[in-house]
Symmetry: C2
Subunit: 366 residues, 2 copies
């Protein structure tokens, strides 16, 4: 690896300039912030780290960057090699580096996650912990527009609505209610060819992950087979999918906002009109208010209500939610909808009541 | 062809029963209605006609059915053969039949439509005219769940938002503002294998259309290549796509309703507060009202406003709409957005004004 790269006199190259444009568009601080960059050693995250280095070197970005790498324990010696490689990369370019290690396959065996899910969960836990330790206020991950297109197709194959098809967000809290921000500075513009090209331009040979070639993973088959076929219909199919995701994310956000307002109306009437303590504490909402709303709105309002009343939406399927929705239809839809873990929703005197079950949080069915 | 089919004593068969269930779910009249059924002679429309015959024969449906067939003039003698075949089918099963003829390739050469679009336009014009002549209040078309899945994929490949991805509706007015209803009784449940199987069961050899095999058409490639690949990820991929479409259609409907309400607020304030006749007649809306709304909502409200002010949305691209949206951002977004045909939107004293251009309706650029 060599520190020099690009034409230093001419300012940053195309890839770094494009990153800076995104940075400004999102209003992210240009200096006085400490952030973690998740670096697997693949082309995407290596390109992100190199572009941050380039922007810092030419003085256009003054943020403090710490590289972070998790060895998932899935690749034996290769995993340790990757970790050493990332540490070396960080050292050469003058970045601090944090390395962690997890036993993902063990976690997958113990919990109900599959390998992909367990790896993802371990990674995000590691990043959250590392961010706290380093005092970082943001974590950067290198998902590209191709990753977004793959996500949209995977969700479409499951029959998701607008919230699922909205794909990944360019920024969100790393943990629910937490203060560390998760940012995806490559998501809306960088193609995989761009990150690979930029690494080559900088003379850095990125690592390749065997998991990225394993066609047992649906995501790998989407990448290798489905997206190339989509490109025969529209050479800019990945961009089209990303644009769809972005439109749907906005539509979903608008509906969420309105659903929250609808839920407030359904609950506010209760607070003023009901005298029964029992009703107040059982988290009830007015049937008549919800029944009048458009189906898409009341579905979201009910989901929000259940999330608050239950504490989460875990194990709540489309069928469960549909059962609760049907209670709004009056007698035809029944009086009680059972939910997993023994909790249930009951329609009584014009109200939906939530009754918590005996479920201990994080039940252990596999 | 033979009139007998299915076990008459046991009531209607599976396919006809499923059709009747959909019919009831939609609340369509079971008798005393006269309707046109578009019959190309392919498996889907033949199955629809046969199932209507079966339901009438066993007395479960009392509606009057007229078969309608358009020869697009694209297949020479084959087209005339198809028309004769459909007439024969209708005669055997005791239905009236209307046959029309169009010169679609000529229309495509003259207008700006491609062959598929011209054929579609000719078909719907024929159906509207035939419905008027027959005194039919509904037109039935035989789009299946597979057609819906294909439509969703084609729209996704163009980067559509929720309204496009919502696909086809199970019912809508045949013409904007018209009284004849277009219904798709097979859309939400029938697979192509079901319609073919039912035709075979009834002993009717449906026709096949060479256009359905022509891989120059994107829809044919989606059917032949893309959907089979999607099925390797999820055997019920077509159903998943149709479910997504249905969810997005509901979300889109909720947003449209709210956008119309937002537009009313933006205009109502003008009616009460503005004294200027000129402002009233130039179709103005308050910037401040729209700017406060969620992006997805104000985009729909603006599109609705432009559709009303211009008379239609013809030739209005995403970029044009984006230009109008940017006017809401204040100075940064400029003061004027030019629209095709010389019309434009101007931001002045806190209002957006629509200025019609000199465009004659249906301009002749190709």
């Amino acid at each position: 690896m060599s520190v020099a790269g690009g034409d230093l006199k001419a300012g940053p190259g195309r890839f770094a300039r494009r990153l800076l444009r995104e940075w400004r568009l999102r209003g992210w601080p240009l200096r006085d912030e400490r952030m973690l960059v998740a670096v697997s050693g693949g082309a995407d995250s290596t390109a992100l780290l190199l572009a941050l280095e380039e922007l810092r070197r030419v003085g256009l970005l003054g943020v403090e960057v710490v590289a972070a790498h998790l060895d998932h324990g899935l690749r034996g010696e290769c995993g340790a090699d990757d970790a050493r490689w990332v540490e070396g990369l960080a050292r050469v370019y003058g970045f601090e580096c944090v390395v962690g290690r997890a036993s993902v396959s063990e976690r997958a065996r113990e919990g109900r996650d599959n390998l992909e899910q367990a790896a993802r969960r371990a990674r995000y836990e590691f990043l959250a912990g590392a961010a706290r330790e380093c005092g970082a206020s943001a974590v950067l991950v290198a998902h590209t527009l191709d990753d977004q297109a793959e996500t949209v197709m995977l969700r479409l194959l499951r029959g998701s609505g607008a919230d699922g098809l909205g794909g990944m967000m360019h920024e969100r809290p790393l943990e629910a209610g937490g203060e560390v921000s998760l940012r995806r500075p490559l998501l809306t513009w960088a193609r995989r060819a761009d990150t690979e090209g930029y690494c080559r331009e900088r003379g850095v040979e990125f690592r390749s992950d065997a998991m990225n070639d394993d066609e047992r993973f649906a995501r790998v088959r989407v990448r290798r087979k489905l997206l190339p076929l989509l490109s025969t219909f529209n050479p800019r199919a990945a961009e089209a999918l990303a644009r769809t995701a972005s439109l749907l994310r906005e539509e979903s956000a608008a509906l969420d906002e309105l659903a929250a307002a609808l839920l407030e109306v359904a609950r506010a009437q209760l607070d003023t009109e009901s005298e029964e303590e029992e009703v107040k504490t059982s988290e009830a909402v007015w049937v008549a208010v919800l029944a009048r709303a458009a189906p898409a709105l009341r579905r979201r309002a009910l989901r929000l209500w259940l999330a608050r009343a239950r504490g989460n939406l875990r194990r709540l399927s489309r069928a469960h939610l549909h059962g609760v929705e049907r209670l709004l239809e009056g007698e035809r839809g029944g009086r009680v909808a059972e939910l997993p873990g023994g909790s249930r929703v009951e329609r009584r005197r014009g109200l939906l009541h939530f009754h918590p079950g005996s479920e201990t949080s994080g039940g252990d069915e596999s």
